[in-house]
């Protein structure tokens, strides 16, 4: 899958390019976002397309955060649907991510 990245200042903004992120496509997502994580230290993941995420998908997103944290960077999330938010809450992942309503808010959060 192709992960498009916009650069806003120093902040990379990538969109999750699927409606559903689960066991069937989480490995592919992980592979294809790896260069984006590699090339950015400040990354926002725009989740506006995403409607369903299972534990494999959550694992893939968590892995992005861990890679960025390991090199001193950070990952912020934005534009999460209610259903996806519920999945984050279910596993308490909403407590380790900064989650914003819009792209702008997420990007601005890096500036502050």
């Amino acid at each position: 899958m192709e992960v498009a990245v916009d650069l806003i200042g120093e902040v990379g903004v990538a969109e999750v390019p699927v409606d559903e992120l689960d066991a069937s496509n989480a490995p592919e997502f992980k592979r294809d976002i790896a260069p984006v994580v590699e090339n950015n230290t400040k990354l926002v993941l725009d989740m506006s397309r995403l409607h369903f995420v299972d534990s494999s998908g959550l694992g893939a997103i968590l892995s992005c955060l861990r890679q960025l944290s390991a090199k001193g960077g950070d990952l912020k999330l934005c534009c999460m649907s209610k259903q996806v938010r519920a999945a984050f809450e279910l596993v308490r992942m909403h407590r380790i991510f900064d989650i914003y309503a819009t792209r702008d808010e997420a990007v601005r959060a890096f500036e502050s």
């Binding site: 559903e20 069937s24 534990s55 494999s56 694992g59 809450e89 596993v91 380790i96 900064d98």
Partner: protein, 828 residues
Amino acid sequence: MKERNQVLPEFENQAEALSISVIEESIRRHVKYSLAKPWSDLSTNDLLSAVAFSVRDLLAERMLETEERYRAGDLKTLSYISIEFLIGQSLTNHLHNLRVFDQYRQALRNLGASLEDLERAEGDAALGNGGLGRLAACFLDSLATLGMPAYGYGINYEYGLFKQEIDGGYQQEKPENWPAQNSPWEIWRPEEACLVPVYGNIEHALDRDGGYNPMWMGWKVLIGVPYDVLVSGYGGRTVNSLRLFSARSSLDFDMRIFNDGDYFKAVEQKIASETISKVLYPSDAVIGGRELRLVQEYFLAACAVRDTVRRFERHHDNFSEFPDKVAIQLNDTHPALAVAELMRILVDEKELAWAEAWRITQATFGFTNHTLVPEALEKWPVPLLHYVIPRHLQIIYEINGRFLERVSIALPGDPGLLKRISLIEESKPQHVLMTNLAIVGSHSVNGVSEIHTGLVKTSLAPDFYKLWPERFNNKTNGITPRRWLLKANPHLAGLVSEAIGNGWITDLHQLRKLEGCVSDPQFRDAFRKAKTANKEELARIIYDTVRVKLDPTLLFDVQVKRIHEYKRQLLNVLHIVDEYLSLIEDGRQPAVPRAHIFAGKAAPGYWKAKQIIKLIHNVGRVINNDPKARDWIKVAFLPDYRVSLAERIFPAVDLGEQISTAGMEASGTSNMKMTLNGAITIGTLDGANIEILEEVGEENIFIFGHTAPELQDMRLRHTYKPRECYERNPRIKRIADTFKTGRFCEKEPGLFTWILGDLLNENDDYFHLADLPSYLEAQEKASAAYCDGDRWTTMSILNVARVGKFSSDWVVANYAREIWNLKSVESA
């Protein structure tokens, strides 16, 4: 009250005024548009579906009105969670409750059909084993009748309790595939499906503030798809719902995996997920699939709590108000994981502090205990919980740690106390004790009869009782008068209404007025005639089913319930054997000819219970075919005991056998159902028998046997010596020795020798021989009373007149007032 007074009569008039032509049109419309069939091709089942859809239209309309009233009143609601709901048939129950029975009967006649035929054709929804599930169904009926905002939560088993067939006297279990997904009584609600995570592991991480943040990762997901069964209250003003969940695989939501090619693996996974709501486990069964049973219980708890939270969040966002708006009742420990699930939602998802979440949880839950039998007390191995629901196990450990810490500070100096009250049993492997979890997580713990509640306090949970005496209370079980008299026994129901009006239908205490009729010759005559008519009908059913011919003048001596050693069907058989041997060996005719009628299912893996069924059949075959016994004793076993059959049996009972070992039957409800229908109880001082004795008076019941404390004393002091009783009492010896002979097992010698061994065993926990002499004596008293027809009629009328306390309306009103703080929409 003003609203009720104004609206209810108007509504009732509407219901009663529902014209027969409108009903006919509604049925025709459903035949055409719902079934898409020409009238000429209709089978009985087709017509049953069309009529059910027509009734469902009425129910749906009133359910929507009910929901609107609840919403407008912002009333506190009850979630009643039970692994079983033994609903039985629905059609005529709804017709009675909606008060349109006569109209539908006439409409069907006009259409050339018969309501009675449809009633016979309707299958039972057998989503339960016995008392616990039927209690839940009676409670839902009463909650709706009282206008209380309540939702039942259960599992939509594809296979309910097995269908029992008898082959050569042996029970055979056949699948009872009730139309779980195609029943006209169920409304599919896919848009309200719940996602239920299961399995996976905990990743120990830190949150943004550096605090410990365990994350539940790697889970699979089950989908709980709700099906609503509508529950009509009497009068039809309130219609609540019972929400039954079917387990579906997440693959239903994700067809891409199918499209990716691994079709067979996908189907395999889908089937595995859907197994969870496939089958109801019979209680007392040796369960092979422990993991499946745990997932089933968790699935129910998770779906029920999620749905309850969702309902709350529709109109509220402050969870500190949750206990003011929601009560959750756990019907036994099967849904006890709901305590951990609510804590998980509050702490993990809603980010409440632990202490506040715990306050909310305790204030929300109530727990009803239904059993003291040690092997029936649920506990789950910690490794299995860790595998299936790792986050919940963490939460249970946290609850336990905080609880034990508080107790150790409050009550120092008793080192054994913490071990006794811990939620974790320190066995290998460790187990989580579900009763302890339910008690600790609830603000109310109740037993289901006075004696049972006493034993909960003194034997089951004495340490918890010392800690929190205010939490423990009794709520003796009850039964709904609508199903168990109005619907089941139209002969008696009509007579009662004629004599005292129909207020008893919703206020069973009004039956007391019948005491004024006890000397009225006309009433007595009509009362006897009603009983005879019911006995004739049961005799017909028995003849049609098992070809045993019964004369309705016989004393109908009936024991119908699950077959279990503690319920002592064997003791009943010992009496029959005594009666028979006295007749054929001593030439002593019984004081009164009797029909001994049995029905009940044994758990498939319960060998002794199944042997007792075989014994009843063999004893019956010998006696029924012995010309010397022909006019005096008959034995009949009706196969496939179920709610609809019970409705035919109870009205015909003269003498109801409630003969469990004292201290073992939590309450029993067949004792109440029989009493309501004019049967006289022969029973031990066990369960609700004691309270029936208090209500009807000792002159109107036959009590025998040792008390629970006496038996407990014998257990502790090892003073039960059945062999001495056997050696000393020739009558007892003759009965017991029969099992050494081939008298009842000519073709299978030695088949019943195990029974003699059990009877003479000092460790017989059911104390058969201890109670046999007094049982035989009580039976003689019953025979003598039956011989005096006038006396028997008086006793029978007084049993009906004094049974009011056992109405589930009254019981539920007590739960509502003392535990749930639930108000009727009528009084809000």
